[in-house]
């Protein structure tokens, strides 16, 4: 069995009295794309927030590269290569595209490498290069999503957490974004992906977890889940 780079074991998270995650266990192996699918309020975003230290679990373990990270602050985890592109893209609207990207490299001090990564980001998303000096808030939804991913990549992630990259995007734009996600993974970045669009998420991931009201319902290889009648009925809008 391959080594998990990220692992959750029996994690329970509460918002006040609301039991948001009920004993969630999942693992992400080096080099994988794992997707986390489920409807509204299933706990997908909560799971990501817990992983990157924005929320503290009441019980259970969160390990990243073998270390317990339940009490590690977000900004420290970013420095260790666990980077999230937040839900709703989280663009800084009054900063330019380039300034947004440079903030992604906030924890880094290696100037030449940052410049190289900036160039790399513009190659990955040529649209961003065109809009380099434009303010983030003036970009279209798709461009903002590109910026969000490119910005997260500026932190040189080992594990990239993506929260709903397809949110509010046209199908063609979603296709393009997911093609880039495949490419990023091929270059060696492990990805944990949260999606409501189960169809596309299962197409572009190796394994998947299905979350429902804070609990993992099924998990397995994405190709298998796509043919699972229960998943088909509930999430793929078939049969």
């Amino acid at each position: 069995m391959p080594e998990p780079v990220l692992e959750l074991a029996e994690v329970n998270v509460f918002y006040g009295a609301v039991h948001a995650l009920r004993g969630v266990s999942l693992r992400v192996n080096e080099g994988e794309v794992v997707s986390l699918i489920g409807g509204n309020g299933a706990g997908k975003t909560t799971t990501l927030a817990t992983i990157c230290g924005l929320l503290r679990p009441r019980s259970g373990l969160v390990t990243y590269r073998g270390a317990d990270v339940r009490r590690t602050p977000t900004h420290v985890l970013v420095g260790q290569g666990l980077v999230m592109a937040p839900e709703g893209r989280g663009i800084f609207p009054n900063l330019t595209v380039e300034e947004n990207l440079r903030l992604g490299a906030y924890t880094r001090r290696d100037k030449p490498a940052i410049a190289a990564d900036l160039k790399r980001g513009f190659e990955l998303f040529p649209r961003l290069a065109e809009r380099r000096r434009q303010k983030g808030g003036t970009l279209s939804g798709g461009e903002q999503q590109m910026l969000s991913i490119a910005r997260a990549l500026m932190g040189r992630p080992k594990v990239l957490l993506l929260d709903e990259p397809s949110l509010g995007l046209a199908p063609l734009v979603t296709q393009a974004i997911f093609a880039t996600i495949d490419q990023i993974n091929k270059e060696g970045v492990t990805i944990l992906l949260v999606e409501q669009n189960a169809n596309i998420a299962l197409k572009h991931s190796h394994r998947a977890y299905v979350l429902e009201t804070g609990e993992v319902q099924f998990n397995g290889a994405s190709t298998e889940l796509r043919n699972d009648p229960r998943v088909k009925a509930a999430y793929l809008g078939e049969g």
Partner: protein, 345 residues
């Protein structure tokens, strides 16, 4: 580094020149306005880092100013008249004055950490209320201190020290000292804004959660911004105390905090240029309106016009005079008709 040093030297020379010019050619009444504007700029540019850049709405700025004023004044009095005046600390007036200023800045800055670390966990309205409370508590505590003169405050605060060649200046050297710190705070604020830290502060303002996920330690940076503002508010307080020769706790009511906020909002929250413009306008406007009041014979008219101007401003230009822009050659070029300056799309 040598560039910074040269710039600093140029600043000192410019402040000296400004002081010389004003005391030679301008009436003392108007020099007073210039000084009040300078103090307002130090306050506004400092607070702009907190409210404008980092987006944390603090309305307790007068509290830090008060602490700086009383610490600086008390230290200065002790050095000049007190028992330690004869002791080893009785160094030259210039050194002790600078030491007192530094002390007041540090005291206010330290208080900034103490207040900021817990208060900056609050957001929006709650932070505003907490900082407002801090300002009022500070003032009331100062009023109750008999050792600091109680409600009547401190008197006989020494004058700002003279410089070589300034013996004949009847206005003294207050312009030099005040504008030296104007120069410092503006220089630091501009440099901060262009730095990675400054960009991270803007990121906190725009989207704190996203900033966190970029690895920005938002809690720490917010406290840094707060301390920056507090430090310079403390210095402004000490300069104010030395300038007025006396200081009372009631010089630092919440009205003064709000005045600084009006400067920021009027000038354009988040812009250093805006903060300076706001400081000039808010300080001068009531003075300029006074002749109008006298001519028409209606008392209090200037405050009515002043308030009306603010309302008109908020209706027609809610982003302030400068918005978030800075005064630059680009912006000036853009104002020349027939020529497109600034950003090309």
């Amino acid at each position: 580094m040598p560039r910074t040093l040269a710039l600093l030297l140029a600043g000192v020379v410019a402040c000296y020149g400004l002081n010389w010019f004003l005391s030679e050619f301008i009436e003392v009444v108007y020099v007073d306005y210039v000084n009040l504007i300078g103090l307002a700029i130090i306050l506004a540019v400092g607070l702009n880092v907190v409210n404008g850049l980092t987006g944390q709405f603090s309305i307790g700025h007068a509290g830090f100013m008060a602490v700086g004023a009383f610490v600086g004044a008390m230290a200065s009095i002790l050095f000049t008249y007190g028992e330690i005046a004869a002791g080893p600390l009785a160094f030259a007036g210039l050194g002790s004055f600078l030491f007192c200023l530094l002390l007041s800045g540090l005291a206010a800055g330290a208080l900034g950490v103490l207040v900021g670390a817990p208060a900056l966990r609050l957001r929006g309205d709650y932070l505003a209320i907490a900082t407002l409370g801090f300002g009022e508590i500070t003032r009331i505590l100062l009023t109750a201190q008999d050792s600091l003169g109680g409600p009547t405050g401190l008197k006989r605060i020494p004058k700002m020290p003279l410089l070589p060649g300034t013996e004949t200046w009847d206005g003294g050297t207050s312009v030099f000292w005040i504008y030296l710190f104007v120069f410092l705070v503006v220089g630091l604020a501009v440099r901060l804004q262009r730095s990675t830290f400054g960009r991270a502060m803007i990121a906190i303002r725009e989207n704190e959660l996203a900033a966190e996920t970029m690895g920005v330690p938002s809690a720490r940076l917010k406290v840094v911004a707060f301390v920056f503002g507090a430090f310079f508010a403390g210095i402004a307080g000490a300069l104010y105390a030395h300038y007025q020769h006396s200081v009372r706790p009631d010089d630092f009511t919440s009205v003064r905090s709000i005045e600084v906020i009006v400067m920021l909002v009027l000038g354009g929250l988040g812009s250093v240029t805006g903060a300076i413009a706001g400081a000039v306008v808010v300080t001068l406007l009531p003075q300029l309106l006074r002749p109008l009041e006298e001519a028409m014979g209606i008392d209090g008219l200037s405050m009515v016009v002043y308030a009306l101007l603010l309302i008109v401003m908020m209706v027609f230009r809610p982003q302030g005079i400068f918005g978030q822009r800075e005064l630059s050659l680009k912006l000036l070029r853009g104002l020349i008709p027939g020529r497109r300056g600034g950003k090309t799309p």
